[in-house]
């Protein structure tokens, strides 16, 4: 049931297109979070175009899997995936962060189809995922809950409260992923407030943990497949990523955490992205 070479090729191409759209919308908007959107692109692409069940025509379809972007500042990657998945028109992407837009600076579930819950204040998404997972267990439904965390976000105490809850209630219908790009606003995560060893911490909290290259589509899809077979405990996939992945203009540069590309930077990135696909 592993992803075929053909599937992987399609996913890599999708991720490349998503990155292009992210950069275009951010440049058009003039503000927003570039680095953390690009680092998460391969992960979120695999979720929307390989793993998750959903129906863009019925965002509240009972049988859907849930995706929670706990690191809500990566809204541009979520909006772009939702456009590619058919929840909104591509044209709407250029309304990002503008007055009256459904594409709020951080995701707002009240107005944006496909967004399960408003996020933006860090540390809260895993608790919400637990609640959804408990609801699915009560309903004896097989829906799965995916939640994407940032590595800096792991500094929030609520994350570890939620980590305990998920293990305590044996929520094996949860698959959390951490976008471990190593950078937060004030600098390297390990310098600001170290979160390593990430895998040991989650294992100690009772989780099944996979540690992968978060830009390797084969590794991402394989880990998502394996997570489905884990019984009696939740799964954490630690995705080692590069902040700003996709163009040398942004890669590993902390200043692009919350800054949009200029027109010139966009031009350079477009040249890089229009060639070979960016992920392995």
């Amino acid at each position: 049931m592993a992803a075929t070479e053909e599937q992987l090729k399609t996913l890599r191409e999708k991720a490349r297109r998503v990155r292009i759209d992210i950069l275009k919308m951010l440049t058009e908007c003039g503000s927003g979070h570039t680095g953390g959107s690009l680092s998460a692109t391969d992960i979120v692409t695999a979720l929307y175009f390989y793993k998750m069940k959903y129906d863009p025509k019925r965002p509240d379809w009972k049988e859907r899997d849930n995706f929670i972007l706990s690191k809500g500042h990566a809204a541009p990657v979520l909006y772009t995936e939702l456009a590619h998945a058919g929840f909104i028109e591509h044209a709407e992407l250029c309304t990002l962060r503008k007055l009256g837009s459904r594409l709020q600076g951080h995701p707002d579930s009240k107005c944006m189809p496909g967004v399960e819950i408003s996020t933006g204040s860090l540390g809260q998404g895993l608790s919400v995922a637990n609640g959804l997972a408990l609801a699915h267990k009560l309903d004896k439904s097989s829906n799965r809950v995916y939640v994407l965390l940032g590595d800096g976000e792991l500094q929030e105490g609520q994350i570890w409260e939620a980590a305990m809850t998920a293990a305590h209630y044996k929520l094996d219908n949860i698959c959390a992923l951490v976008d471990n790009n190593g950078l937060q606003i004030d600098g390297p995560v390990e310098k600001v407030m170290g979160v390593e060893p990430i895998t040991d911490k989650w294992r100690a909290f009772g989780w099944e943990v996979f540690d992968i290259d978060g830009h390797d589509m084969a590794a991402i899809t394989a880990a998502l497949d394996k997570a489905e077979n884990v019984k009696g405990k939740p799964t954490m996939i630690v995705c080692r990523t590069v902040k700003g992945k996709g163009s040398k203009v942004f890669e590993g540069k902390v200043e692009f955490h919350g800054t949009a590309p200029s027109k010139e930077e966009l031009d350079i990135a477009m040249k890089e992205l229009s060639g070979e696909t960016v992920c392995k």
Binding site: D108, I117, G123, L132, A135, L138, E161, A162, Y169
Partner: protein, 313 residues
């Protein structure tokens, strides 16, 4: 006023009857289920009860997820933790997305008494009231609590219901009908009106009787919904009596007194006094001693009424 019931007990009973009627009702607590009385629900419906441990922030988020998953979560702990420790989770994960979560917090205000200032929530109404989408209910007795919980279950959207620890006199009979956003006028009064909430409604009724003996006709209004405030009832009382006293066991800043003052200033400015806890933290003592200590007893209310009447033009 014979039978005495703690509003937290009425809450526990209301949960059980609600649980029997509705399969979607789930209950969360943070290691205080024996105190908040959610244990009554847990005993009957163990599969629909989730103890989250001493982790209030996580509990609020978990409740939000259950609500998205189509459940009707009731979340309980002490008022000081529900509204203080987890305020931002209530704001971001429950109110901002406008989710159908009911926060019912017990041991509010001075009712937690002996535990002291660390545990006495004198700010909870203020900090819940300020959040958009939030409804704030402070029932006065057992029957009103029962109905308030049923009404909150019917209502779609976040609610904060404040219940107390100690037994309080029963004020309402079987014919009473609670409605969110609707004040109950015990009597209209002529010289002044006391607008009260929670355990202070009983004190207000006692103050009314004290004043009656002195020939002063005071109206008493139970403002059990603090948000949305029944501004019609506030304005009518001001027009009729020309003087208003608010009574709450909560800070005079931002709670019932604050809400009524905001309404009056814009609609019918009349002399007003806010009786409550005067911008200070709590201290240990039993409920009755604390009511006296903070100037919240019936005789304090009666005195405040006389003072405010003097200011009438």
């Amino acid at each position: 006023m014979t039978e005495k019931v703690a509003t937290r007990d009425a809450y526990g009973d209301a949960l059980v009857s609600l649980g029997k009627k509705r399969n979607d009702v789930v209950v969360l607590d943070a290691d205080l289920s024996g105190s908040t009385k959610t244990s009554k629900f847990a005993k009957v419906f163990p599969d629909r009860f989730f103890n989250i441990g001493i982790a209030e922030q996580d509990m609020m988020g978990t409740a939000a997820g259950l609500a998205i998953g189509g459940k009707l979560p009731f979340v309980s702990t002490f008022a000081v933790f529900a509204t203080g420790r987890a305020w931002e989770q209530v704001r971001q994960s429950i109110c901002y997305p406008n989710l159908n979560v009911k926060i019912v917090a017990s041991h509010s205000g001075v009712t937690v008494g002996e535990d002291g200032g660390s545990h006495q929530s004198v700010e909870d109404i203020a900090v819940m009231r300020v959040i958009p989408h939030m409804t704030v209910i402070v029932p006065a007795d057992g029957p009103e609590t029962l109905q308030a919980i049923e009404a909150a279950a019917e209502y779609k959207g976040p609610c904060y219901v404040r219940v107390g620890r100690n037994k309080v006199p029963t004020l309402f009979g079987a014919d009473y009908k609670f409605k969110i956003g609707k004040a109950h006028v015990f009597n209209e009064g002529k010289d002044a009106a006391i607008i009260a909430a929670g355990i202070m409604v009983a004190e207000a009724l006692r103050a009314r009787d004290l004043l009656k003996a002195e020939g002063i006709d005071v109206g008493v209004i139970d403002m059990s919904t603090i948000k949305p405030l029944d501004t019609g009832a506030v304005t009518a009382a001001a027009m009729r009596c020309g003087a208003i006293v608010t009574a709450e066991e909560h800070s005079i800043i931002g709670g019932l007194g604050g809400a009524v003052a905001e309404a009056l200033a814009e609609s019918a400015p009349v002399p007003m006094a806010r009786i409550g806890i005067k911008d200070r933290f709590g201290t240990s003592g039993d409920q009755e001693a604390l009511l006296k200590h903070y100037g919240l007893s019936a005789s304090d209310l009666a005195m405040a009424v006389k003072e405010v009447i003097k200011k009438k033009r």
